[in-house]
């Protein structure tokens, strides 16, 4: 904590300045001659970046704080998007009501699925979520009467870039502030305790199931909200553009790049990833996902602490570093309550 307070004041000041600066962008577009340097595409890009920040922060609640690394997080985005899509185009609900409905549907789905899936641990949870993602995409394809199947749905067009810019900006500030606050509450501490040692937490009186399901639903709600907004902004949805495999990977890379389990990590990671990718995207469109894969491997193998971890002096290392340095046989996974040792690894016939 060397020079902690000054550093904090300076970074908080910079953060506020950055938010205020960003908030003026649509004004510049509106009042400057020819929009100044701000174009609709600038606003659109920032909106996408805010969305990535929000989703990354919500993913970090389960993956970073609670230690349940979710490989299918895009499913909540997709359900949120389809929620708005169906409610608006099939039932003709107005946008705000449809968004609320979409979030409610997402939370309901998360609570229903979370019951069984959160009983799985470690890689079993991660991969069950990946399967959920793939499965929901297929289900959306199948129930054509509701979702339009592979053809997709067209939403009432509404092109107002500044509106989406402000909604997502405010949401990003609110969500990040919320995670910052949550991390400091008893609830947040409990999530960390579950990550560090779930069995121990259970045996010390913590209702781990309740906490896991709550945070899972919360994370799904936030991501579902982003999906709901995205669908309306995009005005068209189909299974392939909503349930893109790479969306979950973007989120995971953003969080790990920034620093898993930290509040600032998802924000920094999302900003860096978004602009780095924008440069790559612009120049080598077709290599984008290949580079993304290489980046993921490189971060995991060489910079597991992420940006936040590398530039701070946190004792005891960061979450990913901790989760990674943990050997499989060590406590805080299921073994070592005294029951026989490691995962049995055998080859038999």
């Amino acid at each position: 904590m060397r020079g902690g307070t000054t550093f904090r004041k300076v970074s908080l000041g910079l953060l506020v300045a950055a938010i205020v600066g960003l908030a003026t962008l649509p004004m510049i577009q509106r009042y400057a001659t020819d929009g100044g340097f701000v174009t609709n595409s600038t606003l659109f890009n920032f909106t996408q970046m805010f969305m990535l920040i929000i989703v990354a922060s919500s993913w970090n609640l389960t993956g970073g704080f609670t230690g349940y690394v979710d490989f299918g997080h895009g499913v909540w985005f997709g359900i949120g998007a389809y929620g708005t899509g169906v409610l608006m185009s099939k039932l003709g609900w107005p946008f705000p009501v449809a968004v609320a409905g979409a979030v409610a549907i997402t939370v309901l789905a998360a609570l229903l699925l979370g019951g069984p899936i959160l009983r799985l641990r470690g890689p079993y949870f991660s991969i069950a979520m990946l399967a959920t993602f793939v499965a929901v995409r297929e289900i959306i394809r199948i129930v054509k009467p509701i979702t339009g199947g592979g053809i997709g749905l067209t939403l009432p067009p509404y092109l107002n870039r500044p509106l989406f810019f402000y909604i997502t900006l405010i949401l990003a500030v609110v969500v990040v502030a919320f995670t910052w606050w949550l991390r400091r509450t008893q609830f947040g501490l409990t999530l960390i305790a579950i990550r560090e040692d779930e069995i121990g937490a259970d045996m010390r009186g913590i209702n781990t199931t309740l906490h896991k399901i709550t945070v899972f639903g919360l994370s799904a709600a936030i991501t579902g909200l982003v999906g709901a907004l995205w669908a309306y902004q995009n005005t068209f949805i189909d299974p392939d553009i909503v349930f893109v495999d790479s969306r979950t990977m973007d989120v995971i890379i953003a969080v790990i790049l920034g620093g898993l389990g930290t509040v600032a990590g998802p924000v920094i990671g999302a900003v860096v990833l978004f602009w780095a990718r924008d440069i790559i995207w612009a120049n080598f469109l077709q290599f984008h996902l290949i580079v993304q894969g290489i980046v993921l491997i490189a971060i995991v193998l060489w910079v597991p602490e992420g940006i936040v971890g590398t530039f701070s002096d946190r004792s005891g290392g960061t979450t990913l570093g901790r989760l990674m340095s943990k050997r499989k046989g060590e406590p805080s996974s299921d073994e070592a309550v005294g029951s026989p040792d490691d995962e049995p690894r055998t080859v038999s016939s």
């Binding site: 606050w181 949550l182 400091r184 509450t185 008893q186 609830f187 947040g188 501490l189 409990t190 999530l191 960390i192 305790a193 990550r195 560090e196 040692d197 069995i199 121990g200 937490a201 259970d202 045996m203 010390r204 009186g205 913590i206 209702n207 781990t208 906490h211 389990g261 004792s315 005891g316 979450t319 901790r322 060590e330 406590p331 805080s332 070592a336 309550v337 005294g338 029951s339 026989p340």
Partner: protein, 254 residues
């Protein structure tokens, strides 16, 4: 043995596949006593602990705690009833500070309330500070538990069990891998606690530790109860000596 029976387990049986790890064991703990549970490695001590704290579902028998049947309760419910424990392999929340570790063990994170705004929270933090002082951990209150030494983490674990004012504490090898001076500290703290009326059940390898603290000792071997008596009776029991130093050489192979 006088006093109220605080824990009463009858014919507890636990199987893992074909192996009977705990075989019809009767065990009871009376209010205020320090009961030792010993036995060669693999004799079922930790499994019995896990059965009592509801980590394992038992395959037979019943467990009563403070007169209530807990056979089908969840581990966290049993903990909230006042049955606390430590673990053979130390379990603390490495990324949280000592203070946070202690506070969580009482508060159970039920509500997302902000730290230290309410009186209840201030009391909780005062209590955590008090317990940390009792266990000589005061100066590490803001240190992350993951950076403590093994002995300090043992003490912290003990502190975490103390936070919710339990009626019974199960200690699983509180001295293993700890340097001798800290063992004395732990022993001393346990004696103080027992004098204040806390009931303890210890699994221990250190026989001296057991005979210094315990009023009664139970010996397990191959999942069965082999003997039950005062430390002196146990020390002179033929069957116990046979189990420990007999032909199977299982004393130090897990």
């Amino acid at each position: 043995m006088s006093g109220i029976r605080i824990l009463d387990a009858r014919s507890v049986t636990k199987r893992f596949g074909g192996l009977v790890a705990v075989d019809e064991v009767d065990i009871h703990v009376d209010q205020g006593e320090v009961l030792g549970l010993i036995g060669p490695n693999g004799s079922g001590k930790t499994t019995l602990f896990n059965c009592l704290t509801r980590v394992h579902n038992i395959d037979g028998g019943s467990i009563e705690f403070k007169g209530k049947d807990i056979t089908s309760k969840k581990p966290y419910q049993v903990a909230r009833m006042g049955l606390a424990r430590t673990f053979q392999v130390i379990r603390v929340y490495g990324d949280l500070t000592i203070e946070e570790n202690l506070v969580l063990s009482q508060q159970w994170g039920a509500l997302p309330t902000h730290r230290s705004f309410t009186k209840a929270h201030r009391d909780l933090h005062d209590k955590a500070a008090e317990i940390a002082e009792f266990l000589l951990l005061s100066k590490h209150l803001r240190t992350k538990a993951g950076t403590l030494s093994g002995g300090q983490r043992r003490l912290l674990e003990l502190g975490m069990t103390l936070m919710p004012d339990p009626d019974l504490i199960l200690l699983d090898e509180a001295t293993s891998g700890i340097n001798p001076s800290l063992i004395e500290t732990i022993k001393d703290r346990l004696a103080v606690l027992n004098n204040k009326g806390l009931t303890l059940l210890l699994v221990e390898h250190d026989i001296r530790f057991i005979s210094d603290l315990c009023t009664r000792v139970i010996v397990l071997n191959y999942g069965r109860k082999l003997a039950d008596g005062t430390p002196d009776e146990i020390k002179s029991d033929e069957r116990v000596l046979e189990a420990y130093f007999g032909d199977d050489g299982s004393t130090d192979v897990e």
